[in-house]
């Protein structure tokens, strides 16, 4: 079922005045006001480990194929996952670029890692739109872009504790997991390709 009403969200100007001050530790250097660091909200990455139950919802891939979410992620491969939407302005293109860089750097190991980008604007992001978006960033097998009903997308976001009633409140976060039943690594912030590869490479089983 579609959800009822859009949740109230402060208009950007109000948000701006709330957010416009970066929080930075004061440095105890004799009154030197200028020594403070300016905090870049998106670039600081924090790492945590979490366990979660993957919901078995039906989604659709960029090729229009029906995809059972939990089964697909539990195919045995390490998984790298994020949440995006194609009309997103500042933050999703860099996130998708970074996934593309990871894909390239994996080289021969590329088929051994499942990349997944789940749309948080599923009604707008039809499979065709996701396909165009994937092409724009040179995404290749086995990188899946997933969409579906608004309810299914919300279920997935909630399972990853990444749900915002409003997509413009979306913050950059990446998830990695070695294999089924294992904990997830959660990286909040705009993790660079190097950050992701450092987590991902040790998750790959040794080549036979």
């Amino acid at each position: 079922m579609p959800s009822r009403l859009p949740a109230f969200r402060p208009p950007p100007a109000l948000l701006a005045s709330l957010l416009l001050m970066g929080l930075a530790p004061a440095m105890a250097r004799g009154g030197d006001e200028h020594a403070h660091h300016h905090h870049h909200a998106a670039s600081a990455v924090s790492r945590s480990e979490i366990t979660l139950a993957l919901p078995q919802v039906k989604l659709r891939s960029q090729d229009g194929a029906a995809v059972m979410f939990a089964d697909t992620l539990d195919d045995g491969r390490p998984v790298l996952l994020n949440f995006i939407y194609t009309s997103c302005t500042a933050i999703c293109p860099p996130m998708t670029r970074i996934f593309a860089e990871v894909q390239e750097s994996l080289g021969a190991d590329r088929p051994r890692v499942r990349l997944v980008s789940v749309s948080i604007d599923p009604e707008q992001d039809t499979p065709q739109r996701l396909k165009d978006y994937a092409r724009q960033f040179g995404a290749a097998e086995p990188w899946l872009f997933l969409t579906g009903s608004a309810a299914a997308s919300t279920t997935v976001q909630k399972a990853f504790n990444s749900y915002r009633p409003d997509k413009m409140g979306h913050t950059p976060v990446s998830f990695l997991r070695r294999g089924p039943g294992q904990p997830w690594v959660r990286l909040d912030g705009l993790a660079q390709a190097g950050d992701l590869l450092r987590e991902l490479r040790p998750m790959l089983p040794p080549r036979p």
């Binding site: 859009p6 909200a41 009309s87």
Partner: protein
């Protein structure tokens, strides 16, 4: 002739023209990320690889208006000339706060000195802000030659420059368009809600802010003449934006809005124009119904071999028929168009419906009166045939009761229904709109409730966006704020109403409904987004 030539040569040599060419180059870099020779702009993030492509265009982050955006915790600052080439300023009433052990620091762009050409070059090439603070790594470090830098600077200086049409010294002028083919009851319902809502939301006189003045642009005559009438109205008293409005045919209004670049926000029409940029619509109109049916048929095995669609090419149903045909163009399905003019009687009906075979699909783009005259006996359509009607055109539960459709048809009928289910919708309308309406001395009526709710939505979203806009008048910025103000859509006729950057339709799907024996429509299956 010679004098003309000489004059144009002279004009070409004037500095104004050189400026214009430079600005045009800057505009292309800014909006499309393309250089003068058509090659893509290049840049990198600190420590990252070389990037190129559409997402490097400045407008991707700073937006068309140059006013920037906020996404999650990321703040993309404004880069319009007036802001960039002046010292950074904290917003009015904002004082940096501090607490023991912690200092809250303003963003660099709030405390920096003014940019000049060398500082801008350093920011764009090296990512060093004017206040000698490195810019957030999200902001790419660009490879730009001197000319490109100058071009970008020329464009940034142009951004946000006035005067803006419709912004008077004490009034902000808005208008709403009413076409002569609008249904009178729906038209009056729209006018009442809009007038009360705009008056109620406008800053009051004496508040120091511009009051909102709403004009009604009532068009007359056939659609061919509307564009000229709109241009004349805009010339007489320019409007900053058009809000709500109502009409059956809408193409001339759409074309006017796009050509003029005036935001046309959520008109009540079932025929939105193609590829909107300045127009934002409630929903994609009847074309959506055609696309929804195509999606449903393709997902439901067996896919039919033949679809027969009945429509009047002079009426709105043509848009749905054309969308259905387009969506099935690559499919092994025959789409047979059965067209007619004027009201249908039983004889006309019999001529119109070909002998139907099992598995055929019949799509009726018809109004309630024509549906009521369907041949009483079902011989034309075997019981296995699937019959669909357009919920918008049929107006069931609005102007007619589904029981007016002859019984044998009723039981095989599916209604393509792009609105929230009637019960859910009504209770939401009453809850979110009822008390406001009564306070205005207005009342919700069963046959106009969708128009009332949608008009209220148009007004509320526009009002939210205008409040955020403040004094920073720019039509592009207004559109960007509208994309972000859909929280105002609490009483729309649709179950979900969302927008986003560049999105131009609030609602994006439809239900299929079946007709219960008591004539009620009830949801059959999931909300379908084609």
């Amino acid at each position: 002739m010679h004098r003309l030539l000489a004059l144009s040569l002279l004009l070409l040599a004037l500095p104004g023209h050189a400026d214009e060419a430079l600005r045009a180059e800057g505009q292309r870099l800014y909006l499309d990320g393309l250089r003068a020779d058509g090659s893509p702009l290049e840049g990198r993030r600190p420590g990252g690889e070389v990037l190129r492509g559409r997402d490097l265009a400045c407008a991707q982050c700073h937006r068309r208006s140059g006013m920037g955006t906020i996404e999650g915790v990321v703040v993309v600052p404004p880069v319009t000339g007036a802001v960039l080439f002046a010292p950074g300023r904290a917003p009015a009433g904002h004082a940096p706060r501090r607490a023991a052990g912690v200092a809250l620091l303003d963003h660099g762009f709030r405390t920096r000195p003014a940019y000049d050409a060398p500082r801008l070059a350093r920011a764009l090439r090296e990512g060093m802000g004017a206040g000698d603070v490195p810019l957030d790594p999200l902001m790419p470090r660009y490879t730009l030659n001197e000319r490109e830098l100058a071009a970008l600077q020329a464009w940034l200086e142009e951004l946000g420059k006035g005067p803006v049409p419709g912004v008077g010294s004490t009034a902000l002028h808005l208008a709403t368009v009413i076409t002569p083919d609008a249904d009178p009851r729906q038209r009056d319902a729209m006018r009442e809600v809009l007038q009360h809502c705009i008056a109620g939301r406008s800053p009051p006189p004496g508040s120091g802010r511009r009051t909102w003045v709403l004009e009604e642009w009532t068009l007359s005559g056939p659609p061919q003449g509307w564009r000229a009438q709109l241009e004349a109205r805009m010339h007489r008293q320019p409007a900053f934006a058009l809000v709500s409005g109502i009409g059956r045919e809408w193409a001339p209004v759409h074309e006017f809005c796009e050509a003029e670049g005036v935001p046309c926000l959520f008109p009540n029409t079932d025929l939105p124009g193609p590829a909107p940029r300045a127009s934002v619509y409630l929903w994609p109109g009847l074309a959506l119904e055609g696309a929804v049916l195509a999606r449903h048929l393709l997902e439901q095995a067996p896919v039919p071999k033949r679809i027969i669609q009945v429509f009047d090419p002079a009426d709105a149903g043509r848009a749905g028929a054309s969308a259905l045909r387009t969506a099935l163009i690559d499919q092994p399905v025959t789409v047979l168009d059965q067209t007619f003019h004027g009201p249908l009687d039983e004889t006309a009906w019999r001529k119109l419906l070909p002998a139907m075979e099992a598995g055929d699909v019949l799509m009726l783009w018809l109004g309630a009166a024509d549906l009521a005259r369907l041949p009483g006996r079902l011989e034309a359509a075997p019981p296995t045939a699937r019959v669909f009607v357009s919920g918008t055109l049929a107006g069931l539960e609005r102007v007619a009761d589904a029981r007016s459709i002859p019984p044998p048809w009723r039981s095989v009928l599916h209604v393509i229904y792009p609105f929230d289910a009637p019960e859910a919708r009504l209770s939401r309308m009453v809850f979110n709109l009822g008390s406001w309406m009564s306070a205005q001395g207005l009342s919700l009526a069963r046959d106009t409730e969708r128009t009332q709710g949608n008009t209220h939505t148009a007004c509320e979203i526009t009002a939210l966006a205008l409040y955020t806009l403040g004094e920073r008048y720019s039509r592009d910025y207004l559109l960007e704020l509208v994309e972000d103000s859909y929280a105002g859509a609490t009483a729309s006729a649709f179950p979900r109403f969302t927008l986003g950057p560049g999105q131009r339709f609030g609602s994006k799907g439809a239900y299929l409904m079946r007709v219960e024996t008591d004539g009620r429509l009830s949801v059959d299956g999931e909300w379908i987004v084609p």
